[in-house]
Symmetry: C2
Subunit: 185 residues, 2 copies
């Protein structure tokens, strides 16, 4: 889709589904930097080459746009400058969001903050989320292990904060309590 290091000549606009931004460090370390959802633009050409790879998580539909580089002038041809600023802001917000989530101490706080964040992006109704993100991806995003993610979700389920009716559905039953947990107990 987009490979880290590729030159910035196209931008993707997500129509539906979830995509992940992945960083492959020189040392082989792999991290999921962000998730992107319907309506997001990714691969904004602030630089000459992409800073991360973009991969489909599930059910991804997107449209590519040819992009002129911001370095050689802003593309005012088909979109207003405001639209570009908004898209850049959206992308940056995604990175700050992960930063804020990872900065919390305790995996439970991070998971709770992540679920709250997700609910703002892909809530269907009544706290029900389209939760088609593998736990391995969640673990990489949250800087922990899949086992710990699983255990933490289980504890939240046992405490009645969330419900997991099916593998790709997750319902937030007690958003208030989730916020308390996100502060670290």
């Amino acid at each position: 889709m987009i490979e880290q290091g590729d030159s910035c000549d196209q931008t993707l606009e997500i129509r539906s589904g979830i995509a992940r931004a992945v960083d492959y460090s020189a040392d082989g370390y792999r991290q999921i930097l962000a998730f992107f959802f319907a309506g997001d633009f990714i691969g904004l050409p602030l630089c000459s080459s992409h800073r991360y790879s973009v991969e489909a998580v599930r059910g991804l539909r997107f449209v590519p746009h040819a992009s002129q580089r911001l370095q050689t002038g802003f593309p005012v041809h088909d979109s207003e400058p405001e639209a570009i600023a908004k898209a850049i802001w959206q992308e940056e917000k995604a990175f700050i969001a992960r930063s804020l989530i990872l900065g919390r101490v305790g995996v439970q706080a991070r998971v709770a903050a992540f679920l709250t964040y997700l609910s703002q992006r892909l809530e269907l109704a009544d706290g029900m989320l389209d939760f088609s993100i593998p736990q391995g991806d969640m673990a990489s995003y949250l800087g922990t292990s899949p086992e710990t993610v699983c255990r933490t979700l289980r504890r939240l389920r046992d405490e009645g904060v969330i419900a997991v009716p099916s593998r790709d559905r997750l319902q937030i039953l007690n958003a208030c309590q989730l916020n308390v947990l996100a502060e670290g107990e």
Copy 2:
């Protein structure tokens, strides 16, 4: 200096010293999101209000610039679009950097990655860093406690990877080993 939530009508250009970007969440949680150094622009007006506060860490000198909002058109009056793209990219890079550091498992790996990152920004010579960042700030940035930061730095010192000649100086003796530790042992 800049308060989180203020309207974006000024941009700061750092001349010397270190500044920190701080997020105050609604729940009172405080996190240091990024450090900024000489040459950086902060407070870029991608949005109508600032997303974080900016505070001086030490020895900060800066010049304010009145900023037109990107939302209402790019300010091409005194700087090229490329310069703006570069500044935005620099800011975003700082957030991604923290994200990549925090995503690593183990405090030692995070500290090592952070020191490597710092050395790219404020290295003087021979791995010697102007290290006037309180350990409390480091701890908040790294998502850990001041005590653990202190202990980790001590271990690195004992292993001969770094040296701390004075409180505001830190020398990287073995950059290679530091990279190994950043990968998690």
